[in-house]
Subunit: 148 residues, 2 copies
């Protein structure tokens, strides 16, 4: 056991769930970023595609609320997806625009979902299905408790 493992294994951090949550999240995001890079997608862009695929006709402001992304930051993100022909707009009323996947966007969505599932399997595959489900439920309750 190296000196580094020794320290991180002491009571200094071993009792702090938030610390391990953060370190794990950093690792997972880095791996997901790599997994999506061949598709030319960033995690936030892939997430937006996932939401549109599940809820065609949704507005970008609503996607932002679901994903925790500011309206101001959704604008360039969505402009990029539209410019690349993955998402199409359709006027609902004078200020809202319904978003749908194009054919290319639907294909990209499938590839992104496959890459994401493979990534999840790679990182979390060693966990049993009940362990995974329990952790998801606990984490979801946690972050949704901060949603108002």
């Amino acid at each position: 056991m190296s000196a580094l493992e020794d320290f991180t294994g002491t009571k200094t951090f071993s009792g702090l769930l938030g610390y391990h949550l953060r370190r794990a999240s950093v690792l997972v995001m880095a791996d997901l970023t790599q997994a999506l890079e061949p598709l030319g997608l960033k995690p936030a862009e892939a997430s937006a595609l996932f939401v549109i695929a599940a809820a065609g006709g949704i507005t970008q402001a609503e996607i932002g609320r679901i994903l925790g992304i500011q309206r101001a930051n959704m604008a360039p993100l969505m402009a990029n997806l539209i410019k690349r022909g993955l998402v199409a707009r359709q006027a609902m009323d004078g200020r809202s625009q319904a978003l749908r996947l194009t054919r290319a966007g639907a294909a990209m969505h499938r590839h992104a979902m496959e890459a994401t599932q493979a990534h999840e399997q790679r990182l979390f595959g060693h966990l049993s299905q009940p362990d995974r489900a329990r952790m998801i439920a606990q984490l979801q309750r946690l972050w949704q408790s901060g949603e108002d």
Copy 2:
């Protein structure tokens, strides 16, 4: 159930552990940042104090390796803690310097640990002790698998 909860509750994201890990981590870091703000500490600074308290005489490069912080980013962080009189340096050899908490630093460390424990209790107190221990063990194995 609102439209937002409905979407985040669908199979789109509910099966993705990485997504919930990320959302939870963001919430936890925001809460910890607030909890430490009255002390004038940022999470990274508090973590450095924790490491020094547990391992007096350690160098800042080693702290960086433990916490996953680049050497280049440790320099201004540690300079700030020293300028505030929380940490003192002591030459080991011509290039390495042993770090120790000053009296003020030890007091700050206690306050930071108390604030952190209260924060953890506030966010994770609803989890049973076995649940908490299991989650910590699983997350730790996960992020440490990416350490080389």
